[in-house]
């Protein structure tokens, strides 16, 4: 092997290494970005679904008895196999109402909570809705 041949051989190895490194980094960045976006879309879609089905509102108070009836009539959003919703007063861990829909949880669970007004005894009081949903 002459001098030029050795240099060319090293160059080609280096070029392959650079391409592999760049591809790996690119794929990692792409994958992490995709995961974050998916999680956000799921939560936003779920909130829209809850709002559309009268289970959550940012503006008006939700009556708990009506929520239970509405959930019984609701079908889960696409791609979600099960969901649990708990309503409770702000600062009080004891739930006022717990609702379950679909199958039991398997694998990753998306969990979040949102403040909302809950109608309790004819009065609108600050409360929290806790949602857990899974695929």
């Amino acid at each position: 092997m002459d001098r030029e041949g050795v240099g060319g051989f090293l160059e080609s190895i280096l070029a392959v290494m650079v391409v592999i490194t760049a591809s790996s980094v690119f794929l990692v960045v792409l994958a992490s970005g995709t995961l974050q976006v998916e999680e956000e879309i799921d939560q936003a879609e779920l909130i829209s679904w809850l709002t559309a089905n009268g289970l959550f509102s940012e503006e008006t108070a939700i009556g708990l008895d009506a929520s239970a009836e509405r959930l019984d009539r609701s079908e889960l959003p696409e791609g979600i196999r099960g969901m649990s919703i708990a309503y409770r007063l702000s600062g009080d861990p004891a739930p006022l109402l717990e609702l379950n829909l679909g199958e039991g949880s398997q694998g990753d669970v998306l969990a979040f909570k949102r403040p909302m007004l809950i109608e309790v005894g004819g009065r609108d009081v600050p409360g929290v809705m806790e949602v857990r949903a899974w695929h």
Partner: protein
Amino acid sequence: MALRKDRHGMAMVVDALIFLVVLTLLVAILHIAPYHEDEDRMELLRSYHAVMLSGELPGEDGSSLSSATLSDYLIALSLNGTPSQEQVLLIERMVNGTIVELGTGQSGAWLVIELGATELRFGSEPPEGGEVYADRRELGDGSVVSTLFLA
């Protein structure tokens, strides 16, 4: 000896290193970027504050307070000068749950209500360091200012 004289190969090495440095910096910037976290916390703080101010007072049926919100009550109090101890306790009952809820798992949460010249404080003591988020709302004609803090 072969490498020392192979200038084309060395140039390639330098190019590759520059490429990797730029790529590393790009990845670092993408990962260090806050990615909506601050916006999410502010949005949550705004939601808690809005819900808290819209909560209705525990007035008995038929009384003038039975359907008044905390916001209405604070505006009414601002017209009457300094609130009494009983009125402050009622406000505390109305806001305590939200402050506890918001402060759970955080460094602290507290509320400052300015009623004209009177300032009412509820919740935890502000921490000495760290980031603090705040949502400030002027109620009525601006005589009442409610600011909810989260650290």
